[in-house]
Point group: C2
Chain length 372, copies 2
């Protein structure tokens, strides 16, 4: 047995745990709305594509579901409940036999080893209809034995890279990302090395999941990306990152952190276009793409007070990247940085303007090619 494949890629990314006001659990309403808007699609596509007559899906056996990048809940629980409801519907009403059996469900919640699994486990609903388990480790590597899972779910997690491409922090590299914290607005070499890393990561993810899924197993991905042709610097996400970067620059001026610290800090996020992602999936060759759909934008029709919008935005960003900031710059600057960020967004709230909301969430429904 190859021990290599069990070794965790070096990475310490995770959401802020526990139930404090800056935790992911308290700041993921946007993600929740995505889960809700994917619900009907999942129901329809499970009905269409789940091959309950095939031996892999024998209802006398166990139906195993994996959620990758689960954080500490509750969105992962909503997603899993919806998948189970959809699978149950298929077994109950679409079977050729009279009193069809329903399989038992074994559900695996995956996230990085630094995720707060204690909080996740405390949050699992008591009225669940499944047996839960937690799986620590990077989803860019193998996490399950061969042909274990029947359904994979991964929502708004795949924009996390497994690592920052090293060139962006090397002063002698043409992709050195001086004074910036992301490829947004940076020179093209920076975007290129981010893109190369993303390509590697997506391929690792797809190959690992293809082996872990049973023949004909299903996978839902919800991917945060940009429509073709949109520049990140013209989007609210990109504008937000640039403002955060300028806050760090201000803190250099104030002598709170060093220029070198900012130069060596980069956000590990990449946002593909749907056609870029489609090409990567086709190149990988392990999955048929059954559906790609742009999801309606969460919270779009909620006319909210700008003060509230800014507060929600900063709280969410802090839940997601607070850990990265703390690890790189130390705990002391976190509070001040996000206060400064909030102040700057009040001074310049352009990222909340409708015309910059160009990022989009793409729903993808894949089916493992059963000849694997």
């Amino acid at each position: 047995m190859d021990v290599e494949k069990f070794i965790e890629p070096s990475s310490t990314y995770h959401m802020l745990g526990s139930d404090d006001p800056y935790s992911y659990a308290q700041n993921s309403e946007y993600q929740k709305q995505l889960v809700v808007s994917a619900e009907e699609l999942i129901f329809e596509l499970i009905d269409k594509h789940l091959d309950i007559e095939k031996p892999s899906f024998d209802p006398n056996k166990i139906f195993r579901i994996g959620d990758f990048g689960c954080s500490i809940g509750p969105n992962t629980f909503f997603a899993v409940e919806n998948i189970i409801k959809s699978v149950e519907n298929k077994y109950k009403y679409k079977s050729n036999i009279k009193n069809p059996r329903i399989p038992e469900y074994h559900v695996f919640f995956n996230d990085h080893v630094d995720n707060d699994f204690n909080a996740l486990f405390r949050n699992i609903p008591i009225t669940r209809k499944y047996f839960p388990a937690g799986v620590p480790g990077s989803f860019h590597g193998r996490l399950f034995p061969n042909a274990t899972l029947h359904f994979v779910h991964c929502s708004t997690a795949l924009h996390w890279l497994s690592r920052i491409p090293k060139e962006v922090t090397e002063t002698n590299s043409s992709a050195f990302n001086k004074g910036r914290i992301h490829y947004t607005g940076a020179k093209k070499e920076v975007k290129e090395v981010y893109s190369t890393q993303y390509r590697k990561d997506i391929k690792s993810f797809l190959s690992a999941r293809a082996q872990e899924l049973v023949p004909g197993g299903l996978m839902v991905l919800v991917i945060l990306g940009f429509p073709g042709g949109v520049l990140p610097s013209e989007s609210s996400i990109g504008i937000g990152f640039n403002i955060l970067g300028s806050c760090l620059e201000d803190m250099v001026q104030m002598g709170k952190i060093t220029e070198e610290e900012v130069d060596s800090f980069n956000l590990p996020f990449y946002y593909p276009s749907p056609s870029e992602l489609k090409a990567l999936i086709e190149e990988n060759g392990c999955f048929n793409i059954e559906r790609i759909e742009r999801l309606s934008e969460p919270m779009k029709n909620e006319k909210q007070n700008l003060n509230i919008l800014i507060k929600v935005c900063v709280s969410h960003l802090r839940a997601v990247i607070g850990g990265l900031i703390e690890e790189h710059f130390g705990n002391e600057i976190v509070e001040e940085l996000f206060q400064l960020h909030m102040k700057k967004l009040h001074e310049n709230p352009m990222m909340f303007d409708e015309k910059y909301r160009k990022e989009a969430n793409y729903f993808m429904f894949l089916k493992q090619k059963s000849h694997l």
Copy 2:
């Protein structure tokens, strides 16, 4: 599907987590030596009883191992490694075919939802040959789908009751355990209600595991108990509990805690005799008993300085029951209580006398009756 079976019995028992000096990981040398002394027996008995020719044990499939009451390691990792080594030996050298396949291993680490799974996950060895998962919940209930596991391991965990029998805290009950914290030295009614609770708990455990194991699945239990006829009050464990109880009484006299608090505190441990346990397993009827053996006593031949012995003993007890004490009496008294306990053991070290070391560890190797 019956939701009832997923609901956790009320209980918050768990070992102290993390890597602090009072944690279970730092204070479980005794348990480690038990794992080591069970190693050879497990190797021999897997070789003898693992039915690798049966469909449930098809090497093209996955071999699933569950360790129940795993705490945060490292003993659980030693145990799992030994089981895998033994299983691999059987597949490699005892198969009828030439280049036999070896299955992949999926390993499930179970403990209460309050166990520190974050610490457990950080501690999993990097060079493991298996895919790990954590399973939160009481092992007195169902934790896995039907016919999932091939091998169950549970070492020095089954003496934990799922709850304190309520009669021992009811002032109007004949089993009210006034002024004591355990059935050691108490009136016979107290022992009886502890025994009744143990009977229920063992039956729940066996029935749950029998359903979760594949036909012919194997189970190792290591049980801390007393040989028939030995009174707990004549054993070092019992003497230790009585001294701890007297420390609590002293703290009542000092006005640090109330008499009612002591009267309502009882340790959730029961130590059966091997014949009592054997009768319960036979009555349950789901397993054949392939072997019962008394393990050699850990650390017996290590002649240690009394001061060190007392320190190790108090640290171990604190790792195991510190959480219970804290929950019942509050955090403030913990340090003082164990200091007092240490002092009293120095004044009266009789529990360390060879003649009182009457508790014993029983190794049991069970095989699920395959007609289930």
